[in-house]
């Protein structure tokens, strides 16, 4: 991938950062500028005595700077990208220095040979994912110390299991209260009551359920008023299902049990996933069709990068989502990829009945913008929706899922826009935030595309039309 101004603009946290980066484009600010193995790095003279060290990875627009700025990317990283984009400065060919290698080794899905440590070249064989849910311990040569650490981990795990089960008992009581008072009443005071139980579940170390309930008020209030009570039934019904499934994981199929544990809050670390030899891996060309960014109540921004598989065999997941969490205070609103980017990568999927979330195991070719269309299947919205229903039957608390379609149209009823399949009559209400942006599509006869369905609203992400490509912004 080579940097372009569009990409740099997309990555910049704000216009001020771009303006500040512009001022650093003079080579005199950069005593060192070098490149090698798909990386570029340099030292930028700031106000202090020691220059800041800046490195960028051209494969996936990764960056690192030693400056204390709380903006990501900072102006130094943007300036370095910019100099690569407009080739305004000379970069000397050099061996990748240790500080760049060190940074690279801590990044996800890197493709550069410089980053490959001996450990990665020969992947460790790790036990199955259930056993790697706990944080990994450091390598310790002392077998007794290792035994003590293992015992401590097991003790912690059992304590947490007990705490979670206690929390679920409280959750049952809370749910019963809500059912007694009725959903109309629940909707009226949802923020207050959800906050209380979410805090209790955090204490019980069931962070997944806590987060789901903490986000519920916001989710309900994005929906039209009359729909909210029935939406509350759906949401609380799922919470109860997760709680019940968690208590009976031994009776469930392995993947559904993994889904239940993840939904409750047992996370699998990235390292554990990448080292899990049994995790599903798919090696293919992937196209970024949507990048969603959402601020969470915990002051983190959740950045979802949705990928569409452009090559490879049937039977493998057609879509994947990479999820990153960045502090809201950094101002960064996007990951390293932009909509339209194409990468070639091996993805490792988290265990799930409906595998969607993944991590990049190996990036074989970095992101490149291409004008090629998505290789969408030849199926209408109704077929795609039927697949969603099938997936919902397999995973009852299924969240957002991509739906592709051909020959649909955007139609309007009052202020509400719909994605409409005239053959089946299926009409999915579009996300209200898209009303403005998607309205030019309403004058077109048919569109092919893909979007994200969350059970309530459809977020159109990408459409191929007679007027060219439409992309969600």
């Amino acid at each position: 991938m080579s940097f372009t101004f569009e990409r740099i603009e997309g990555l910049a946290p704000d216009q001020a950062s771009l303006a500040a980066a512009r001022k650093l484009l003079k080579p005199s600010y950069w005593p060192t500028l070098a490149e090698g193995e798909g990386l570029a790095w340099g030292e930028c003279q700031g106000s202090g005595a020691t220059p800041y060290r800046v490195a960028i990875n051209e494969a996936d627009a990764g960056y690192k700077c030693t400056c204390p700025s709380r903006k990501f990317p900072c102006k130094h990283a943007l300036a370095l990208m910019w100099m690569r984009a407009d080739r305004s400065a000379a970069f000397s060919a050099a061996t990748v220095p240790d500080w760049v290698k060190d940074w690279l080794s801590r990044r996800r899905g890197t493709s550069n040979s410089a980053s490959k440590t001996d450990d990665e070249a020969t992947p460790k064989t790790k036990p199955s994912i259930r056993l790697t849910e706990m944080p990994e311990a450091g390598t310790d040569a002392d077998p007794k110390a290792e035994q003590r650490a293992a015992a401590a981990r097991e003790r912690n795990r059992l304590e947490r299991e007990a705490a979670v089960l206690e929390g679920l008992e409280d959750l049952d009581t809370w749910l019963s209260d809500q059912v007694q008072h009725g959903m109309a009443n629940f909707v009226a005071q949802t923020a207050q009551v959800c906050r209380t139980i979410a805090q209790r579940l955090v204490d019980a170390k069931a962070s997944g359920l806590a987060g789901r309930l903490d986000a519920l008020p916001t989710r309900l209030f994005t929906l039209p008023g009359p729909v909210r009570p029935s939406a509350a039934i759906r949401e609380l019904g799922q919470v109860h299902l997760i709680s019940q499934a968690y208590r009976r994981t031994s009776e469930l199929p392995e993947l559904l049990a993994a889904d239940a544990r993840q939904a409750v809050g047992w996370s699998v670390t990235r390292e554990a996933l990448l080292n899990d030899s049994e995790a599903m891996r798919v090696n293919a060309q992937w196209r970024v069709f949507a990048v969603l960014s959402e601020a969470q109540p915990d002051r983190l921004r959740r950045v979802e990068t949705w990928l569409w598989r452009q090559s490879g065999a049937d039977g493998m997941p057609q879509c994947a989502v990479l999820i990153d969490f960045v502090p809201i205070s950094t101002g960064a609103a996007v990951g390293g990829y932009l909509v339209g980017d194409q990468i070639e990568a091996e993805l490792s999927f988290y265990r799930s009945t409906i595998p969607l979330r993944a991590q990049i195991k190996t990036l074989k070719r970095g992101a490149e913008q291409t004008s090629e269309p998505l290789t969408l299947p030849d199926e209408r919205l109704s077929s795609s929706y039927a697949k969603y229903e099938h997936a919902l039957a397999q995973l009852p608390w299924l969240g957002t899922i991509p739906l592709s379609f051909r020959a649909a149209s955007v139609r309007r009823n009052g202020e509400q826009f719909y994605l409409y399949d005239d053959e089946s009559g299926l009409s999915l209400p579009m996300h209200t935030s898209q009303a403005n942006h998607a309205s030019p599509l309403a004058s077109l006869d048919r569109i092919d595309g893909i979007g994200l369905w969350n059970g309530y609203e459809f977020t159109l992400a990408w459409a191929e039309t007679q007027l060219g490509r439409w992309i969600r912004s």
Partner: protein, 474 residues
């Protein structure tokens, strides 16, 4: 248990609360002895709702089909255009230049970009084509929206349905071709027009004004809008058919008439400002006082020709300013040129006076007007931003080549004080007014600036070049 049962027996209990609406015992299925089964029913009902397909609305709105003969801007220009128009630092100059280019080249923004450049579209809708106009009016009640016409498709049957500026432009053309037919068109819709529309349509009568307009103009003496009455009176006065213009009396009261010369007596005219008008307010007072008089009326009042009137005012700068404003109002560029020859700083004086529109002047008239007021500064063009900014706003046209040459040859951008140059408006304005032929030279000058200052103007020049090339290659 089927879906109907769930909806009939379980849903009401869940919505209203089981304490008030207990679930019927026969529908409850508990998964364990310790549970009363209500939570299980919550999950079952929740899943049942999740499997319900979204209901289809009874009907969809039929979107209007709008014909737009303009070509959509080239794909490669879309992103730079959006970036420039949404840049926080950009001034209004690039938007103005781009809107003109869209209009002149008969291009239109890509429909998908309209939401992204919404502010630009709403400010310049009439220059961007019917689809953009429809977009800009989308939130207006249907009764307030116009029909959307390509100006080239306007004719006598539909001209009254188009936007006002398009109607004015259409009428202007008709007045040149057939003044009587144009008047008949105006008469046919006059009663339904609003005051602003009446005034702007009446302004067009300046083109091809003749005695055959007298009857219609006479009917306007009782118009509800004072400015329409005043304009009609002025036209009638020019035709020699109206009562004396009251504004003329107010002007004449302030003009001192004298004779000078020993052998050959020459008329000499001079404005005497009211005592309560301070020097700095003089220009504005002149602008307001002379707004409703015509050159012919003034010349007639002193029994001299129009050219003799200019000669008579030659030694009085305030009166020359007044004549400059009157000539501008009347689109009498021939007379304006004669006045400006005696008032070389007319540009600054008109600016001080607060002139804010060139009325119904056509594009070529505006450029000629600009040449006339700027040319006297050939050797020493002002470097005051507000003057150039006003010139760009009032003409809403790219500068004539001869004016741009003055700016470029004077290397004005480098002369501008650093604090003004750094703020961006200067360089963006120069790029916005620069004609295509002089863009290479301007680029050279812009390249000497820091990138942070030149990025927007250079982007504007690139986009304008791209739009012109795109149009050329159709």
């Amino acid at each position: 248990m089927n879906l109907t049962t769930l909806h009939a027996k379980v849903l009401p209990s869940l919505l209203g609360g089981t304490s008030r609406h207990p679930m019927p015992g026969e529908v409850i299925h508990s998964s364990s002895p310790s549970s009363d089964g209500t939570l299980e029913m919550l999950s079952v009902m929740g899943q049942a709702l999740r499997f319900e397909r979204p209901s289809k609305p009874e009907s969809f709105i039929v979107e209007p089909e709008i014909k737009d003969g303009r070509k959509i801007i080239a794909d490669g220009l879309r992103r730079p255009l959006i970036r420039l128009l949404t840049s926080k630092n950009a001034t209004e100059h690039p938007a103005r230049a781009l809107a003109r280019a869209f209009d002149r080249l008969r291009l239109r923004p890509h429909p998908f970009d309209l939401p992204l450049i919404d502010a630009f579209v709403r400010s310049n809708a009439e220059k961007l084509g019917p689809i953009a106009q429809h977009w800009a009016d989308r939130q207006k009640p249907e009764a307030e929206t116009q029909s959307y016409f390509d100006p080239e498709l306007l004719d006598e049957s539909n001209w009254m349905q188009a936007a006002l500026s398009q109607r004015v432009a259409y009428l202007e053309t008709r007045r040149r071709d057939d003044a009587n037919a144009a008047r008949a068109l105006v008469e046919s819709t006059w009663a339904q027009e609003e005051a602003d529309a009446r005034f702007r349509l009446l302004q067009v009568f300046q083109t091809g004004l003749s005695m055959s307009d007298q009857q219609f103009l006479s009917t306007l003496e009782k118009d509800r809008a004072p400015r329409v009455r005043a304009l009609a009176a002025r036209f009638l006065s020019r035709l020699g058919a109206g009562i004396e213009n009251p504004a003329l009396g107010a002007c004449l009261e302030r003009i001192k008439h004298s004779q000078s010369g020993l052998l050959r007596k020459r008329t000499s005219l001079q404005i005497e400002l009211p005592a309560n008008v301070k020097d700095q307010a003089a220009s504005r007072w002149i602008f307001q006082t002379f707004a409703d008089v015509s050159f012919g009326e003034l010349a007639g009042a002193f029994k001299v020709t129009e050219k003799e009137l200019i000669e008579a005012a030659a030694k009085d700068e305030p009166l020359l300013l007044a004549l400059t404003l009157v000539a501008t109002n009347e689109r009498r560029l021939d007379l304006l040129e004669l006045v400006v020859a005696k008032l070389p700083n007319a540009w600054e004086r008109i600016f001080e006076a607060g002139l804010d529109t060139l009325g119904a002047m056509t594009g070529s008239e505006r450029r000629r007007w600009e040449e006339i007021v700027v040319h006297p500064y050939r050797k020493d063009a002002p470097t005051t931003y507000s003057l150039w900014d006003w010139l760009h706003r009032i003409t809403d046209a790219e500068a004539p080549a001869s004016v741009m040459e003055i700016a470029l040859h004077a290397k004005m951008l480098t002369k501008v004080p650093e604090h003004e140059r750094g703020s961006g408006p200067w360089v963006e304005m120069m790029a916005a007014i620069c004609p295509a032929s002089q863009r290479p030279e301007l680029r050279e000058q812009l390249n000497q600036f820091e990138q942070s200052q030149s990025v927007n103007p250079l982007a504007l020049l690139d986009i304008l070049d791209g739009m012109e090339n795109d149009r050329t290659h159709v």
